[in-house]
Symmetry: C2
Subunit: 339 residues, 2 copies
DNA sequence: CTGTTAGCGCCTTCAG
DNA sequence: CTGAAGGCGCTAACAG
């Protein structure tokens, strides 16, 4: 735009050209009431000509906050999280915010470092889904203490903050009841890490469905594990050793279900004849595999956009006595052919 | 950490407590040679106790650059892009950088705004895969002019900058030759937007394979379109109207292939008996659908990590006469059951 | 209506 | 070895 050695044009530059004070430029550009319209127009034109762009860093230092949102997710490439990110980005973009994306890699320590790093960049707010290995959540207290709005989604924790979740218990309940009504009797649950709320709630739903339908709960039918495909594979192996042999499995999420699914294929176990499978989150992949996977659908994109909206709302509410909200979205059981 | 009204501890605070000058603190914390070891230790301890964290914004303003990398992708939720992001994040994190993720939404205008926004935040460098609708690339000239390192990946353009691509032509060639050797004769190519290099190169490979194997090229067998599932659906419809009827289709990428795939299912067309399909990028989904999709595998995570490494290298090379590099990664044909 | 001053938090001279 | 001063680009407060 201008051959000034790669430097950006500053307000000072404009001031010199126009022979006015920098503050006048600043005011004109931000359409302050008490500047003559003529001058405003002139200044605008010059700014345009020189390709002036306000320096966000300088503005941020001055304001003490950037127009950015920090996001911490355990993984980026998972369908669920990338869809959530998509939702967050759209809302943020429309509001003139940019997003810092950090990945904890399911690692507690990295999550702490991510948090610190976001704080040091004075983000306006933070959106988090905690890692599988996170048990202690003191690092988020610092965020609260600095009055930085915080929203948790999906994998939430006990902290007093905004939360966006789905109706995990109800979703699990419907999934398991569906299995029961389809005639399955020996239903195993491959559960997630026990300290995560989602795991607990999905277990609750599982038990409630059994109870309501008069099926006795067996402790050994809950198999603890993680949230990844490998956990599904491991879970499958444990499950096959059980006796009496289970006839259905409700998995804490789709990756785990896919793990089981692949093992069945490998071991030539017929789905659903020999083993019925239900997943959770309804990844796009669920409807494309064969047989298509029955799964509890979870509105990922929407969770992201709602989380971002809640965050922005808190950012824009001056009052520090913001009351944390909890949004619980509905799940929907997508019945397909693995059940 | 400290009940100072949510404000972060600053160097000034430390200076007051210690009754020394701020500059002394700054020097001690950054381990400057000429500060007494004793004082250094004291200062470090105090900083720790008060939970001091340097303000990245202030540092950035001073340096003129942040320790951040801007990334612009057309979509976040696509397997390919989210895996690339994963690769970028890992490398960035290890180098102490954070990433700004912007999504162009395949929209030229939004891409321009994204670029501007990243510039205004003084990112240390930018990594981009251009949108389908981007024909003009002047907005990246500004980046170059401000001496901000730039790396393109996958969807690159003509600008003189670092690039990370795969061997598109060779990949396409192998895919099509594989079809020919499997006995298919009437091979259609669902191509991408013609102004993108990847589209051109994949077309080149397609033609080269036909030529080498003495199959006559037919203009109507190249069907132009976009890069999404819907484009696959549209492409399928056009393809079915052709006569003589094609017996195989090579798709510019996996989403398009999936679109075709789903149409085949819907219209009860046997794969590969009636129509063979090959995709490009080998998304995880490819191996899970039934029949599993033959696809050209593209190392997405690696592309991201290499792009980030190239960028950091340029960031760290003081010399402004940095010579742009082009890394071409290898593809690998994953032969499965749709061919 | 406009200019001057001061300061956000940090780092880099330049003096001692 | 350490302190004081100035400035990165911008804006808010105070003067006229």
């Amino acid at each position: 735009m201008f051959g000034n050695g790669g430097k950006q044009t500053t307000i000072k530059d404009l001031a010199k050209y126009m022979k006015v004070a920098p503050s006048t430029i600043s005011r004109a550009l931000r359409d302050y009431p008490d500047i003559s319209d003529k001058k405003k127009k002139e200044i605008r034109e010059l700014a345009n000509k020189l390709g002036y762009q306000p320096d966000s860093i300088a503005q941020s230092l001055q304001r003490g906050r950037t127009k950015t949102i920090g996001v911490i997710v355990p993984e980026i490439k998972h369908d669920f999280f990338s869809s959530v990110l998509d939702g967050i980005e759209d809302v943020a973009y429309k509001a003139g915010y940019s997003i810092f994306v950090c990945k904890s890699n399911e690692d507690y320590t990295r999550e702490i470092i991510n948090t610190r790093s976001l704080l040091s960049y004075s983000v306006a707010g933070i959106i988090v889904s905690i890692s599988q290995t996170t048990q202690d959540t003191d690092h988020f207290d610092v965020v609260k203490m600095r009055n930085i709005p915080l929203v948790f989604f999906d994998r939430v924790c006990d902290i007093k903050a905004n939360k966006v979740v789905v109706n995990d218990e109800q979703g699990a309940f419907e999934a398991v009841e569906h299995l029961i009504q389809s005639g399955y009797k020996r239903i195993v649950h491959l559960a997630g890490p026990t300290h995560l709320e989602i795991s607990k709630n999905r277990i609750k739903g599982y038990r409630a469905a059994l109870e309501k339908n008069g099926i006795q709960f067996r402790k050994e039918y809950i198999i603890d594990g993680g949230l990844d495909e490998e956990d599904g594979i491991r879970g499958f192996k444990k499950l096959m050793k059980l006796s009496p042999k289970p006839d259905a499995v409700f998995c804490v999420n789709d990756p785990v279900a896919i793990g089981v699914f692949m093992q069945c294929k490998e071991k030539k176990i017929r789905i659903p004849r020999q083993l019925a499978i239900v997943g959770f989150s309804d990844n796009p992949i669920a409807s494309l595999i064969n047989p298509p996977l029955t799964s509890v659908s979870q509105p990922a994109y929407e969770m992201g956009s709602i989380a971002a909206k809640m965050l922005l709302e808190e950012i824009n509410s001056k009052s520090s006595l913001f009351k944390p909200k909890r949004r619980k979205l509905k799940t929907k059981l997508m019945v397909r052919s693995t059940t």
